[in-house]
């Protein structure tokens, strides 16, 4: 049980004060034990004793012990919470501005890391350092005291103590080996359940309910049997520890008993063992092993913490590229909304897009239509791209986007009301935008109208309706530039026509309209086409 070379990073500051408090609390027990031993010794010898006074002294010391331990724990908990919050803030700050998902994974993986995985390090962060400090200090002190009273008692502790970690390590290794072999199967029950819950409708319409339930129950049972096989080995390690602790305490009790009877005459430094010394030894013996047991319990927490630490390191290894700007609402850029695209993939010459242009970006899947829209919106850093006569970079991106209406390809709404989604923080009255997007009948049907909450499930909107909500949002506040990514994909012809007309109406009032699209009918309605597949600017 030594420090591994990869000290857990969340626990980088060692709180020596908390460690000292914790060890001091454990050491107070020695004084309590002495008080008890003296009091009982006086009683059994029939000497004048003051049991009430001794009891008060014992209780007072006990109170001090509890207070110190509580303080140590408070410091450790506060520090753990601070560390976790700090890491979470860092994750939020980085993830919010990332231009795209990194190698670590998407929203689910990051949320699992920032949520449950980090939370599982808490027991380790609060307990392990304190337990380790107690192991370093308390058993040696008790050992010295025991040797001072009786070398034989000291010898028992000396033999039992160091043997414990050795045996535990051996059994622990076996358990680790066993569990690694079956790890993939053991974490799996939740995964199995989630997969089946995701397929509930299919299971039901296929009438496969009884069969799937039986299968799942059988799988769960097999998993339990395998998990128990691992646990049976894993529990041996704590049993070894308890066995040694129990043998140690029992040997001391028997040795002390026989010594006091006079049946054993060795083991002390001259003179027989006094009853007080015997009781003192008996009271100290369990506390010799207690810190080891605490550390063993915290040791198990370490595995979870190390998994989280690994994941955190994996996450940190790929900070990714950030989106330019801060994402705050600021005053818009001034001047005509001229966009100057630099030369790039699919664009050998660069393109100027004056305000009021209606432009279709076309090309096969994967040609970079969406990426180009992201560049124009300032969502990906693009050296050389100018808007309103200034370079589009971190200092101008927020002000540029204040002039842009944005329609992404896949509707995904935060947990907000329809009104909040359409206004998008721009304020004003959504009426005009709602009319332009032909959303009125949709809103009239919703039970709570504009106050209906959307969210993960979309609040009961169909795909076409959700697209029209995005259109209304883009039109809100009459922006100078509208960027739309595949605005008519997956729509039935009626809805596609509604969306197209809404976009063209906005362009008719002087706004630049740029659509990335596969839809030939939509592309034909634009002034210009920018084909990323080969010849740029087919009809310039």
């Amino acid at each position: 049980m030594t420090d591994s070379d990869t000290e857990f990073r969340l626990a980088r500051h060692r709180d020596r004060r908390a460690e000292a408090l914790s060890a001091a609390a454990a050491l107070i027990w020695i004084a309590q034990a002495a008080v008890l031993a003296q009091a009982l010794g006086a009683l059994l010898a029939g000497r004048a004793a003051a049991p009430v006074l001794a009891a008060l002294l014992f209780a007072g010391l006990g109170l001090a012990r509890i207070v110190l331990a509580e303080r140590a724990e408070a410091r450790a908990q506060a520090q753990a919470e601070r560390a976790l919050t700090e890491v979470r803030r860092q994750i939020v700050a980085v993830e919010a501005r990332r231009a795209s998902d990194g190698a670590f994974g998407g929203a689910g993986a990051v949320a699992a890391l920032a949520g449950d995985m980090l939370a599982m390090t808490e027991p380790y962060l609060t307990r392990y350092a304190l337990a380790r400090a107690r192991v370093m200090i308390v058993p040696p002190v008790i050992l010295v005291l025991a040797v001072w009273q009786s070398w034989a008692a000291g010898l028992v502790l000396l033999l039992a103590g160091p043997l414990i970690p050795v045996f535990m390590a051996l059994v622990g290794l076996a358990a680790k080996e066993e569990s690694r072999r079956q790890m993939t199967e053991i974490g799996g029950l939740n995964d199995l359940l989630v997969e089946r819950l995701g397929a509930v409708l299919d299971i039901r319409v296929l009438g496969a309910r009884p069969r799937v339930l039986d299968d799942f129950a059988a799988q769960a049972d097999r998993l339990r049997a395998r998990t128990m096989a691992v646990l049976r080995v894993a529990f041996l390690s704590s049993t070894v520890l308890e066995l040694f602790a129990a043998i140690g305490v029992a040997m001391i009790a028997v040795f002390v008993g026989f010594s006091l009877l006079g049946a054993i005459t060795f083991g002390t430094w001259g003179g027989p063992l006094t009853p007080e010394a015997g009781l003192f030894l008996l009271l100290l013996a369990p506390e010799f092993f207690q810190p080891l047991r605490d550390l063993a319990a915290a040791w198990h927490d370490k595995a979870a913490a190390e998994a989280a630490e690994d994941a955190l390191r994996h996450w940190q290894a790929d900070p990714g590229e950030g989106m330019p700007g801060t994402g705050r609402a600021v005053a818009p850029l001034v001047g005509p909304a001229l966009i100057r695209l630099p030369a790039g993939p699919g664009l050998p010459d660069g393109v100027d897009i004056p305000q009021g242009t209606r432009l279709a970006i076309t090309g096969p899947s994967g040609a970079g239509k969406t990426t180009l829209l992201h560049r124009i919106a300032g969502l990906v850093a693009t050296p050389g791209l100018e808007v309103c006569g200034v370079p589009l970079d971190g200092t101008t991106a927020d002000a540029w986007r204040a002039r842009v209406g944005w329609i992404p390809q896949a509707p995904r709404f935060p947990n907000e009301t329809l009104r909040q989604v359409i206004l998008a923080g721009r304020g004003g009255d959504p009426g005009a935008a709602v009319r332009a997007a032909a959303l009125e009948p949709v809103i009239a049907r919703l039970p709570r109208g504009l106050s209906t909450r959307l969210g993960e499930t979309g609040g009961g909107l169909s795909g076409g309706e959700a697209r029209r909500v995005l259109l209304a949002r883009a039109l809100q506040g009459a922006p100078d530039v509208i960027l739309a990514d595949e605005p008519t994909a997956d729509l039935d012809p009626e809805t596609a026509a509604l969306v197209t007309e809404g976009l063209l109406a906005a362009a008719g009032q002087g706004a630049t309209l740029i659509v990335a699209t596969h839809d030939l009918a939509l592309a034909a309605r634009m002034d210009r086409q920018l084909d990323l597949g080969g010849q740029a600017c087919a009809r310039c």
Partner: protein, 550 residues
Amino acid sequence: MRALLIVLRRIVRETWPTLARGAALTLVVLAMGVTLLGLSGWFITAAAVAGLAGLGATFDVFRPSALVRFLALGRAAARYGERVLTHDATLRALHRLRVDVLRGTLAAPLAQVQRLRGAETLNRLTADLDALDGLTLRLVLPLAGGGLVLVGTGLALWGLVTRAVALWVVVVPVLGACLVAALRLRAMLRLSGRAEAAAQAFRSRLVTLIETRRDLMATGRLAAAAAAVTGAEDRRAALRRQLDREDRRVGAVLAGLVVLAAAGALALGGIAVQAGQITAAQAAIGVFVALALGEVLAPLRRAFSDTGRMADAARRVAGRLPGDRHDEARPLRRAAGALRLDAVSLDRPGGGRLVAGLDLVVAPGEMVALAGASGIGKSTVLAACAGLVPLAGGEVRIGAVPLHEMPEDDLRATVTLVPQRSALMAGTLREALHMADPEASDAALWTVLRAVALDDLAASRGGLDMQIGSRGTALSGGEARRLVLARALLRRPAVLVLDEPTEGLDDATARQVLAGIRATLPEAACLLAAHRAVELKAADRVLSLTPAPA
């Protein structure tokens, strides 16, 4: 708390034999620990008295010392058995609970099932199930075992030491623990519920932030949204600090009770010794037993701090558990004949009429397409034909049998729905198809694969043993779609209901698949929701849905 009891009752009912054995061993371990320390204290004190009196030679050392050794070793062995048995019971319980959640969800109304599709909802459900894992291990067994040991300890001390010591050593911890529960438990439950809600808010806001960050950036709201995520974390941390403080206080009070019990045992025992009522060795028993109670009380702290989270989780999980009714096995009765909708009206999930007074007949062997703009209610009409959504009016019949009178199993044997979005599970192609009909021969499987033009692909990629990957990820969208259709054909239903069956297929394949479906099930009444020209053309008739009058 009521939900916690419901979950607990279910667990106990399912796992009581293992649980009872585990509880018995818990009791044995705790009792042996208390006895060991009490006996050791008595043995040493009595030995010292005998030694001082010069009676060492007549003192029976062997029985007590043998008992000390037996208790020490036996306790470690019993502890191992206890760990194994209680964990086995816990695993049984939590596996049972998961099977029950699946059973309950399989019988739940469609709206509830659709809510489960969200990743966050599923995540929360598994987190709740995990939280309930500790119910027996950390809450029930320590409470029950600790209580019984305290009673036994009281009785033993009553006989061995003095009544005053017995009462003090038992009453102080019991009363103290009850007092703490009465005063602080409610506050802790509330705090932990709020802390958990904040943690969930942090998580789901973070997911939304990451999934919509580009959108939020484009609309100038990213900074505010990120601040809202951090705000949830700050709130969680603040609540957690309060909860930790409560938890430490409870721990301190429980430790203080043990100190108080031991100090009282010393004072009362000492006075009794001086009064000549008992020997010093008897007084020592009281003191050492009181100290041993620390081990009995310590798990209560964990129980206190975890109860809130468990109660919270139980409240959400209990709603997903199925009723106790078990369906009896009985022969299937398949209905046959035309699919007939008489004046069917349907409501939106949120409220408001979606479809009003729809009349429709699909004869056996006929294919009818439902057309209309998205959101008009095509999918809901199909779900109604499969008996998955309640009717607001009218009746759906197959032949002469009203749908709502058919038991679930008969209904599923008669009608098969292929929903717009289907889920596949990890496994082989054969396993995926066997979900529809476990008895089907390989030849029958190849027949339906051929009908949906998947036979060449399957043959080139390992045949029926081809792995389709978790959620069918080894297949393209169009391949997965055709596999789902093949699965439906295997059911050989009298009524086949298809929601945009050829989405994601090119026109040529779509034509081939639709023809394959009709050739495989020439006698089925087939209703499909369609907006592609190729689907509309394949149908014998097209019915356009119009919006319900407001």
